[in-house]
Symmetry: C2
Subunit: 469 residues, 2 copies
């Protein structure tokens, strides 16, 4: 991993270089292009996605260059010398409009629009997809977990099961989606996140007997003592020993903070643990639970009234199980100032032509009602149409509207001010509060309306007709 940031230009699919060289040698290096980023499907059967990864993408884009070693590598692979001379001076000088990081977004709407010459807009495709797809996936997963966990503490424990270095960005995205802290100390350092963690079974094992291990831990961390009670037998050994240590701590004026359950039936064990703690007058001792949790298991525990105060989530969060990828794509919408689209035998996969804008419309309760995709020269419209079915439309006349796409990169520079990860998280939380409840439920969430202007509808129809000839 020696200075990965010096080689970011190479973090690209081979075919981007092939196409870029083709365009270059064909004398098209100044041909203008506009690409849309959007995803086709909300993951996890969620009714929405939390958009994340923007700041990292933009920072990496600022460093998207080709040093001498990168150029030498591409030369060995067989790329053309004139093209490589061009690449050695390469810098992305285009313009990027994007929704804000932390925004609540939906499938099939352009959430990033990239404009520039065909070479620069093509070359950055892989990086954009890689960074935005993943962080948006994990922020959305975290958001679903936060939704079920309510105000309870939720911690990311995923580093060990993360897909290698994905953990660096996953822990950041998890906080954006609503988690409180991470076990990943590197990400905490890099992104100024809260990190947390106490002890593993190995600590208990290393002292042989549980009571000694608990006492040693309490002595080492009297302010933040969480005892893992399931190493031998949760109810017969772990809890009684934890109670004993808690009482010893009380005599020193200290308080046991929590016990942690990491195996067995968490609903049953947490109820029994609560009873034991309460009977010992240890009402202030919290219960933390972990072990292959996801949003559905947390919901089930809460539905069962399990008295759990905090959850640790690992594998299912950090890898986005069972949808390990967001299916974001990057499609050419305008070339040489001519709108274009990609047709498909699957009518839903036909893309939207032209350089576009994205507006959000509010309902009478001042909540999100619908999103509308317009052509860039449009402003006021009265209806938005279903992208395929022209008989389906929604009246949005006079509704309060919001321009969702803001300029975030221009002439090689990041234009947006950098926010802290917790600020982005706060923004996501505020925005989610504006999304009506029916779009947030787990079972068949109501589909949020995303429509297009009549003008865009007609433009699309015309281009398809032309292409079919």
């Amino acid at each position: 991993m020696k200075n990965f940031s010096d080689y970011i230009g190479l973090f690209t699919d081979h075919y981007e270089f092939t196409m870029a060289q083709g365009y270059f040698l064909d004398g098209r290096k100044d041909t203008k292009a506009c690409f849309d980023y959007f995803f086709r499907k909300n993951p996890f059967k969620s009714g929405y996605v939390i958009f994340a990864g923007l700041q990292d993408f933009l920072e990496m884009l600022s460093e998207f260059k080709f040093n001498d070693e990168s150029i030498a590598h591409l030369k060995r692979v067989g790329f053309n010398n004139d093209f490589l001379d061009y690449l050695s001076e390469f810098k992305f000088n285009g313009t990027i409009h994007s929704v804000k990081e932390g925004e609540v977004v939906f499938n099939n709407e352009p959430v990033i629009i990239v404009e520039g010459n065909i070479i620069e807009t093509q070359l950055i495709e892989s990086l954009l997809l890689n960074m935005i797809n993943f962080q948006s996936l994990i922020a959305t997963k975290a958001s679903r977990i936060r939704y079920t966990a309510g105000e309870r503490l939720v911690m990311d424990f995923g580093l060990r099961r993360a897909q290698a270095l994905s953990a660096i960005h996953a822990s950041r995205a998890a906080i954006i989606g609503g988690l409180d802290s991470t076990s990943n100390v590197y990400s905490a350092y890099r992104y100024d996140l809260l990190s947390s963690g106490t002890l593993a079974h190995s600590w208990i094992q290393s002292y042989g007997d549980e009571l000694t291990a608990f006492r040693k831990y309490a002595a080492a961390f009297p302010q933040n003592c969480v005892l893992l009670v399931d190493t031998y037998n949760t109810l017969k050994s772990g809890l009684p020993n934890a109670v004993k240590v808690a009482k010893e701590m009380e005599r020193k004026g200290e308080r046991l903070r929590a016990i942690r359950l990491d195996s067995g039936d968490l609903a049953y064990l947490s109820k029994e643990a609560r009873k034991i703690l309460d009977q010992a007058n240890l009402r202030y001792v919290k219960i933390v639970a972990s072990n292959q949790l996801n949003e559905h298991l947390i919901k089930s525990l809460i539905d069962q009234k399990a008295p759990i105060d905090a959850f640790g989530v690992g594998t299912n969060l950090i890898t986005g199980q069972n949808d390990a990828a967001l299916d974001g794509v990057y499609k050419l919408a305008t070339i040489d100032e001519r709108p274009t689209l990609k047709i498909s035998e699957n009518i839903e996969k036909i893309t939207l032509p032209g350089t576009k804008r994205l507006y959000r419309f509010y309902n009478g309760e001042n909540k999100f009602y619908a999103d509308g995709i317009l052509l860039e020269d449009e402003n006021e419209i009265d209806e938005i149409y279903h992208a395929i079915d022209q008989y389906k439309f929604a009246n949005i006349k006079g509704l309060k509207k919001e321009d969702l796409l803001v300029e975030v990169f221009e002439k090689g520079e990041i234009k947006k001010k950098k926010e802290s990860v917790y600020e982005i998280s706060q923004y996501a939380k505020q925005r989610l509060e504006l999304l009506p409840e029916e779009h947030k439920r787990f079972e068949n969430p109501h589909i949020y309306k995303v429509g297009i202007s009549k003008k865009l509808f007609n433009l699309k129809a015309e281009i398809i007709k032309d292409l079919k000839k």
Copy 2:
């Protein structure tokens, strides 16, 4: 990503530091410990796992240190000054035995054994799990894909859907598991892999008409021309235009290398495409297929006799769908020269105590027959026992055996010679040839025998009895 390699020590779960500080302040910094790495379940319903990630793990381990900024961060978080002084000098000085990278391994056997003092062995847990779990997962997925694809070319196209920087190591692991090349140019540069790629739909769209786009591509890459034929209509437009261009190339003494199908029914379209190409006397033109492929879809295509010569695999490979994590764990086996184990109410989760060795036994056909886990002071044994059921055993007396664990790290130094990724891949391939076919099939693969020595069985029973008191 500024110099991630300078901060590798922080790429660690918070609780490793908490425990390390606890051990340090309790005066146990020289207490000896031994941890086992193993996984509980083979992913993808596979009968085996391809072990991968070792070289990267060992290199990162060599750089697992704490620079001034890391120490300052840990100080801000609240760690103890004396402990931080110790950390600022930290270097892993323990010993690691491991199976070879590319080895065929099985669940519930120790494939890495880490020995050293309790602090150093504990601190490296997260890094080891992160790197080995993921690369082994992806190498195994790639191996399953290679198994169905036979001798056909298989290319990794996953970068855009990879879990962020996981792509760096995933593309490496994919080659170890048997893929031929990757689209990821950075990994190709870093690990000396073959990279490949041609053009996207945007190339075709950018020229407006398909025939012009094909001609331009053929002119730019006459030696390696692969035409994507599904932008408009595969059979009515893409194929006829590809044939036209192939014929034009022939007149210049060039040859169209392949056409690529990226949507629609790949079985039907590949058969029709083959017919059209053959009728045009273009038998040499290959057919490449991609679009959400995995090992099962590839098998189905081959079962249908789809005449596809090469496959591109993306999302399903690079994220290990539908098992996005290998469940590897790191368990304390010996402390202060005393064997220990972690008990569990789930009998299968009880770990194996003591410092161990791992042997492979061969059957009469010189194929893998069984693996045996022995205590380190054992050598010749006649039977291996099921880890739980003492009435289940296998006779291995006199069978040819192989010591699978080799010393790979000692006193802060990597001991093994670095091999190329393709060499590791070749080793994996040779080893898989020694695994009987019944363990490789997709449907209910025969479970490979992994047993323990009678002495280990008895030691485990004794310790459990002691703990239950």
